[in-house]
Structures are given as structure tokens and as C-alpha cells.
Amino acid sequence: MIRVESLTKVFRRPRTFPGPLGALRTLVTRRYDERVAVDDVSFEIPEGEVVGYLGPNGAGKSTTVKMLTGILTPTSGLVEVGGRVPWRDRSANARSVGVVFGQRSQLWWDLPLIESLRLVGALYDVPAAHFTGSLRRMCDLLGLDDFLDTPVRQLSLGQRMRGDLAAAMLYDPPILYLDEPTVGLDVLAKQAVREFIVDTNRAGRTTVVLTTHDLADVEALCRRIILIDKGRVLYDGGIDALVTAYAPPRRLVVHLADDETRTFDIAGGASVPELIGRVAAENTIRDLSIEEPDLESVIKQIYAESTR
């Protein structure tokens, strides 16, 4: 469905100069600052998969999404979505993708939500009957009925995000790019967004590329993740495999009688009861727990290693 090969994007902007006449110099300069935002990225995503596209701030995630939608032209490399090169065939590509950017909205700020949804229906030429059905489904899934007629500027962040999700899916695109769709949402709203994603993926075999900093989203939705940093792919594969491969050891945490807390790494293959026995022989244990490695600790470790 989506094929990316050696994708690279270098941003080139006129050098900015300090000082009072700096702006003027910037205007006429031929010197450019270059920034490699995406650096030789390759991956393939089959139809119907939900993939987490993860990385620290500034890793190049949004830039990749912008190239996948065809809005940004790659500096080099190849992108193919459904057999088309998105930036060469923007119009056809546009019909097959829906996009949500958590940080900005496609809804018209001053108009009631329904107007923006109607506009989407018109722009993608969704037949009237189909539109009504689609809108009904969105309203039911996302609970839009209460604020369909409210101007978007009066919506809460969570309500607006639900409106944006509806706008992105009204014309049933087979591919959905979600760039931080849960940013700033409360627990329940996040849950609603996740359920919506699961539902669309299941109902229409929609392919989803999900960017998020909330690893709970990833754990709930994705079996595969692509991890990038500084524009390069660090890991591409299953979450389970990642945790197994990179997992820090499990740890035994014991609280001792004198309010002291001590932790012991459990080496691979070591017997836990034996370790507890050994610790208990030398101390008075008040309480104990075992910390399992989770995705967050794994990813923290990978980010840290890549920065080094």
C-alpha cells in the first residue's frame, strides 16, 4: 500500500542574519542553511495495517507524513502510495488519504462544525446519500451530535479533534495519516479516539500511520512500530520483538523494614524465588515488587542510546 525508499528531505532556508539590517540581508542572501529532516528512510506498509511512526521531537515524523500526502516534494528517494507517486499525482492521491494533524485543524474556525463537514463532502464529491450515511456513522462513533451546529472556535480541544477525525474519514479514504491525534486529550477522549481508529481499521481495512508521543496509544493500536530519530530509522518491526530485543532486565524492588528501598536486576535465566530468598536471608523485607520492562522504558533507552 505504502512504499518508501531512501526518502530524504533537506530543508533549505535563506540564512538569517542578526542585527537591525539582518532581515534585509536575509532577503537578498544566497547563503542557505540546510537541515536534513528525513534522511534515507525506507519502509513498506501493507494494506490494512496500523503502524506507529514514532520518534522524539524533531525526528522528522511530520515531515514524512507531509511527503506521504504529496504536499511536500522529497529532496530525493521514492514514495509510492497505492501505486501512485503522491506529489506527482496529488489530486488522485488526495482522494485516497485522510489526514489529521493534532496541532492544527482543517475545520473552519468561525463556522459551525457541520459547515466544514459539508465542505469536505463537496470537495471530495461524496454523493448525497452516501454523505448522510457517513455523517450518521461519524456522529454515532464520535458523538458529534451535541456540537454539530457550534462554531468550531467554541469547541473544546477534544471536541475539535473528533470533528477533525470525522472530516478526515467522511469520504472513506483507504489510508489515514494521524499525526498526534490524541495530543492534549483527557483519558476518556483518548479512549474514544482509539476506539474510532480501531473501528475504522476493522470496518474498512483502512491503513493507518499513527504518530504519537503517547505510548499507550501505540500499545492499544499497533503491532508494528517504526522508530526514527534525526531523520533515520532506528527500528522497524513488532513491538513484542522490540521489547524482547532491547528490554532492560526485569528488576526486583524490595522495601526493607528500615524504610530503605533496594533494587536488584534479575539476570536472564536467574531464578526469582532464589533471589528473593537470598535477599530475605540478609534483610527484613516489608514489601516487594517486580518491575517488568515496558515499551516506555525500552523506547527511553533507545532514544538515549541514539543521542549518545
Binding site: F11, K61, S62, T63, K66, T69, G70, I71, L72, T73, R90, S91, A92, A94, R95, V97, V99, F101, Q103, R104, S105, Q106, W108, D110, L111, E115, S116, R118, L119, G121, A122, L123, Y124, D125, P151, D179
Partner: protein, 260 residues
């Protein structure tokens, strides 16, 4: 192709209606401007019967019409495009199956229609203050004004596109507004412009948004001049279409979307 554009025009119309209070201010400003111009020009004329072939009556009617036209057709899209490019919201305009320029043009058309609807109540007042009587050349007036409007929209589309290079069209569109209103002849009819300024004003396309239709309405331009104006207007439209197409093709390739 029709439905997407109709949808966009509808949003433009609704957008205009959402800013009702702005329109009330606009109407008040329009009436005030026509009133002030009337005072100034009446005093300039003193007892003189006519100047440069315009009677005071015709001049006042001309100024009222030219201002009514200018207020009703001032383009909004450079402001909209500027905001959307700056915030990165233009991403969504570019991700539609319909082209960016047709979308913007349709938005502008809807917005203008909304403006006309809301200006309607002010029209009798302006006609009265301007002592405007029915025209002898309704067809010539309507045709040159419509073509002039098309030119105006194309020029503002050009400014929208320039925003993809400069990422900043605030100052440009302000300057454009100033220049276009002046050279449209909303304060002073073009036939009063001296020497080189007159030549410049004649050469620029802004006169088709104000001076030319209004002068046709009051009978200052007539017959062969009307036909000639329409031919030049159509040539401007053709030229601008080619220019827009060429500039847009280049802009398209250098799009950056702010924010992530």
C-alpha cells in the same frame, strides 16, 4: 468540478456572514466616504459647470458608484491565504482533489456574494447621496464591471501565490489594497490624474475595478470606448491566466508547510 467549487463558495459566503459586524462597519465607512467626497468635490467645483468633461452631478454619481464597487469587491483571499500559509493550515487546501487556485477563487466569489447581500440595504442610501440616476448603458456597465471583477480576483490570486515564496503577504496585500484603490480612481477620477500619473493609471488594470465601469455608467465613456475597454479587459484576463499558471507551477514545487 462544480460541486467542490460550489461548496467552497458556500463557505466563503458563510464566512462573510459570520463577520456581520465588520460589514456594518464597512457600510458605515462607505456612506461616510461617499459623503465626505461629495463635500470636498462640491467645494472644488465651486460654481464651475464642468471639469474635464464631467459635470459635478456626473462626478458625484461616479465617485459614489466607484466606491460602492470598490467596497463590494475588495478581495479577502490574500488575507485568508496569508493566515493559512503562516499557520500551516494551507496544508489542507493543498491536500484536496480540487486545485488550490480554483478553491480560493470560489471562496472569493462566495465572499463577494455575501458582501453584496449585506451591502444591499446601503445601496439606496449611496444612490441617494450620490444622486445616481439610471444609466443609458446598463449592458456595457455590467459587462465591464464583471470582467473587472474577474481581473481583480486574478490579481489577488497572484498575491496569494506570492505568499508561497515570501511566506508573508501581510504587508504586500496592504500595499496592494492601497495601490489598487488609488489607481481604481475611487477618490479622484482617472481623467483628472496629471501627466505621467495619468499614463500609469491608464496602463494599469486597476481602473477596470472602479473608474471604467463607473465612467461608463455616468456616460463619461461610451460607444466605441466601451467595446475597447472590454477587449482590453479580456486581454488582461488571458495574460493573467498564463502568468498565474506559470507562477503557480513554480510555487507548487517549493511549498513548505509550517509547523509539525
Amino acid at each position: 468540478m462544480i460541486r467542490p467549487l460550489a461548496g467552497m463558495a458556500r463557505v466563503g459566503l458563510r464566512f462573510q456572514l459570520a463577520y456581520r459586524s465588520d460589514v456594518i462597519m464597512t457600510v458605515l465607512a462607505l456612506i461616510a466616504q461617499v459623503f465626505l467626497l461629495r463635500m470636498v468635490w462640491t467645494s472644488v467645483y465651486g460654481g464651475a459647470g464642468q471639469a474635464r468633461g464631467l459635470t459635478l452631478e456626473a462626478l458625484l454619481a461616479y465617485l459614489s458608484l466607484a466606491n460602492l464597487q470598490a467596497f463590494a469587491t475588495t478581495p479577502i483571499i490574500p488575507l485568508i491565504a496569508h493566515f493559512r500559509i503562516r499557520t500551516g493550515m494551507v496544508f489542507f487546501d493543498l491536500s484536496r482533489p480540487t486545485g488550490y487556485l480554483p478553491q480560493m477563487a470560489a471562496f472569493q466569489a462566495g465572499h463577494t456574494l455575501g458582501g453584496l447581500l449585506m451591502l444591499a440595504p446601503a445601496v439606496p442610501v449611496v444612490l441617494l447621496v450620490g444622486t445616481i440616476t439610471p444609466t443609458a448603458q446598463p449592458l456595457g456597465y455590467a459587462a465591464t464591471l464583471t470582467l473587472g471583477y474577474v481581473i481583480s480576483v486574478m490579481m489577488s490570486l497572484l498575491i496569494c501565490v506570492i505568499g508561497f515564496w515570501t511566506l508573508e503577504t501581510g504587508a504586500i496585500s496592504l500595499l496592494y489594497r492601497l495601490i489598487s484603490q488609488f489607481f481604481a480612481g475611487t477618490m479622484v477620477p482617472l481623467s483628472f490624474f496629471p501627466g505621467a500619473l495619468g499614463v500609469l493609471a491608464e496602463a494599469l488594470p486597476f481602473k477596470y475595478m472602479g473608474y471604467v465601469p463607473a465612467a461608463i455608467y455616468v456616460g463619461h465613456l461610451s460607444g466605441g470606448q466601451v467595446v475597447q475597454a472590454m477587449i482590453v479587459e479580456v486581454s488582461w484576463i488571458a495574460g493573467l491566466a498564463v502568468l498565474l499558471w506559470a507562477v503557480w507551477r513554480r510555487a507548487h514545487r517549493r511549498v513548505v508547510i509550517n509547523g509539525g
